[in-house]
Symmetry: C2
Subunit: 262 residues, 2 copies
């Protein structure tokens, strides 16, 4: 399965501007043969924008932007994962990410479960669950947002449920290069799954996003790695090769849960 990451945007844009950018990335990804495009956390509105702006931009999971992205998915024949502010009850906002399949239907809309410090907590309500896996071209897939992936329990939970692929829209800022460079590849290795980590690259208020998006493979190899700037990144995932890595490092089978403190 060929997958694509849109690492961007390179500057703040309004919603029509962002939707046009996603359309352009989807067209480029489709031309490269990708069946899936993963975009960053809160791409629809920006991330470091404060609660009032997040609330003003918030939509339902089937709101007008989702409809526009569904059209982009159908037009380009690929599934699209993207982060957005989801309107919650009573003026709350969830930091959400949705995956829309190439037929325009929603596969999942996930609410970030691990809120990152005051930055997240001042803007967002926390999600209540890790949703069931969904399938893209028959591949069992889970989704997390940014800080969620830094908890080994999150990816482990999906892996124990049978995930082969985990998508991670993110907005990871400097100086945390450690996360995309070492922690994310470790999540892929220790769980024997592929992780698609799609980061922002713009400067937004007092934050500079790190870029360095990656598709990390179960054998410890980075299938593609972004730099600091805007890019559409393409990687070919070989799930059959993952079986060999899984046989060499059978972590899930070798776990000893009775020994672990919960």
């Amino acid at each position: 399965m060929r997958v694509a990451i849109y690492q961007g945007p390179s500057a703040a844009l309004d919603k029509p501007g962002i939707l046009a950018r996603i359309e352009a990335a989807a067209a480029e990804a489709a031309d490269a043969g990708a069946r899936l495009l993963v975009c960053p956390e809160m791409i629809l509105s920006g991330y470091n924008i404060g609660h009032a702006a997040a609330l003003a931009a918030a939509e339902a999971a089937d709101g007008p932007s989702a409809m526009a992205i569904a059209e982009t998915a159908k037009r380009n024949g690929l599934a699209i994962a993207y982060g957005y502010p989801e309107a919650g009850p009573g003026g709350t906002v969830f930091n959400a990410a949705q995956v829309i399949d190439r037929d325009g239907t929603s596969l999942v809309s996930f609410r970030k479960c691990h809120l990152f410090g005051d930055l997240d907590r001042a803007q967002f309500a926390e999600g209540a669950e890790l949703p069931p896996l969904f399938e893209i071209d028959g591949v069992k897939t889970g989704i997390l947002i940014c800080y969620d992936v830094e908890f080994p329990e999150s990816v482990r939970s999906y892996a124990m449920a049978g995930a082969e692929l985990v998508l991670v829209p993110t907005a990871l800022m400097l100086p945390f290069d450690f996360i995309p460079e070492k922690l994310v590849p470790t999540r892929a290795f220790e769980n024997q799954v592929f992780v698609v980590y799609a980061n922002r690259c713009d400067v937004e208020g007092d934050l500079t996003y790190a870029g360095l998006s990656v598709v990390a493979a179960p054998d410890g190899v980075d299938l593609v790695r972004g730099g600091r700037g805007e890019a559409v990144l393409i990687a070919e995932i070989d799930f059959a090769a993952a079986e060999a890595a899984r046989a060499a490092n059978p972590y899930l089978a070798d776990r000893r849960p009775a020994l672990y403190r919960s």
Copy 2:
């Protein structure tokens, strides 16, 4: 606290030869001000030696080699962690690691809990528990052996119990550089503990050990990193600085165990 790793040996040695090498490493570490020396997995006998040789070399936790290492610890005024074959019931052998304090008393003798493939299973019985933490200079410390650390649950268990430091005697072979380079630093980062990963560097039968021993810090920095060859490595651990990293990345406080599949 200053700590040392003995990355070695560079060739097969008999027990007196190994004990002399540990004595030399302890003296060098003590001269550098270290309060703790961590030696690799199965340093006392070799690791890739087969069950018969492991059984022939096996001793009780308070056997003659432990007594010799206790003398080395007292003579040099530092605690010593080292791997050895522990005699079990009915001709079994545990892949064990003991920590002997600078007064010559045993702080823990741990039996490897996660056996690595046929290599371990053909030689060793598996350990039954992660033991309670112990203290070195008042620092709460846990111990694991090699493959044990590759399971995030293991280090997490110690961290949840309050560990600040985790010692890992290991015998990690090529081509698994990913483990010391990315996975071990991730364990330190995601748990906000220091990890001392002490590897072998010799060729032993069909295995070439990777070296690359490391003291990994909670902020993602490698405090010291070995090359491929024999060395005594020294690192200064600043537990006060770890408090700052813990405040910046409060993973243990931000966990949401109700969401995780066990």
